[in-house]
Symmetry: D2
Subunit: 132 residues, 4 copies
């Protein structure tokens, strides 16, 4: 899949569009996606909601797998673990997925998330299952 096709795939998901996620780049082992901070993504402390960051982790891995399998394998998330390291006040959150293991059934990836100053803002490990 080309970058353009991955973007269409991602933005074809209603929730990704609602959140404002954009696919930025393809790599040999994953993708980079980004999400600009906006008022509607805030929590009560005024920073980016933890659920938004978890959404990016999920999407970065899912789009990474679409890129890897050329969009031909249906997949579903089975689990995710995310550690929040720094709050996002403003600017863009960038998420870079690295496929660590693509097995016959399960695929595991790491997602590193960076704030506008390029500091690590969160790290996630996400597992997807390949459906038949």
């Amino acid at each position: 899949m080309t970058l353009r096709e991955l973007r269409e795939l991602s933005e074809g998901m209603p929730f990704n569009k609602l959140v404002g996620i954009r696919v930025v780049r393809q790599h040999s082992d994953g993708v980079t996606i980004a999400c600009p901070m906006s008022e509607r993504l805030r929590n009560s402390a005024g920073v980016m909601h933890g659920g938004v960051m978890a959404t990016l982790a999920d999407v970065a891995m899912g789009v990474g797998l679409a890129s890897h399998f050329d969009g031909r394998r249906p997949v579903t998330t089975t689990d995710m673990k995310i550690n929040y390291l720094r709050p996002i006040q403003n600017g863009k959150l960038v998420a870079r997925s690295h496929l660590l293991r693509v097995g016959k059934r399960l695929c595991v990836g790491r997602v590193d998330m960076f704030d506008a100053k390029r500091q690590l803002a969160a790290v996630a490990i996400v597992t997807y299952m390949l459906l038949e």
Copy 2:
């Protein structure tokens, strides 16, 4: 805090309102919240986006802590682990938090999530840190 105050707190978070989360009930050890499925919450497989379910896990624990501390302690999520057990096609996702440990610094809770048939759809463990 009363149920009404918890609702105002939750809906005062722009992202919670965007997702459509509603606080349903207070318990001695947590709260129940719910989120009706809607078109904009879907992923490319047509089911509820994993990011939405992660958002509910985060919110169920955060509102549970607000209830426990009567809204007096500022908190922030430090990590979350969620396992997806069943896809949500339609109906309401219900999330029930249980505060397992309220420490001096860290609070850990479990969130059980149920589909419209009352089947367990996901389970999460969420950690919050109490800020000074």
Copy 3:
């Protein structure tokens, strides 16, 4: 499998025997296992090593699956998340597994761990994959 057979299965694993794990009870949805504290299980702070508690989480779920499938399905752990809530100084650590979802490929369970005072000392979510 009977309780005696589950014990033999568990103690047939060299590492379980080294750690001193004993299967205590079968339930409809899991098992209870226990491990007495001993000098060799300590870390540098003098309490039970986090690795020991993670081992119990893994075993409680594995033996729970052996009980569920009557020992007929080969399985392997794919991931585990454990939160440490209270240090174990002395006495027995008791771990109770609850199978939350037994799927065609993946099985997810929760393990609650208790100290000698019956206080929750740790909680884990463990995923196993059924091998062909």
Copy 4:
């Protein structure tokens, strides 16, 4: 702390010695430790027990923090998530910790684990809390 002092610290923990863990190298952002496979570390499938690998994840992060703080800060593990990617049949398991965030209260690290062929065998994210 020197490499020798880190080794003494690690081997001073009874459980680390029981498992056979050895500190191999110090890095600017963590340490490398190793554990040779041995009969007593096996599970019923004949491969390295998941609890052993979880123990290495915990230790790699703990020793990495001792190196970072020169052994001056008491710490305790608060949570760990480990994904098992490949079974360890024989040879040495090598675990390399990377401190991702050293905060005022919480420290988060990633631990990459490799089998004898240098393939990624497991990945973990571990959180420690700094005690007063």
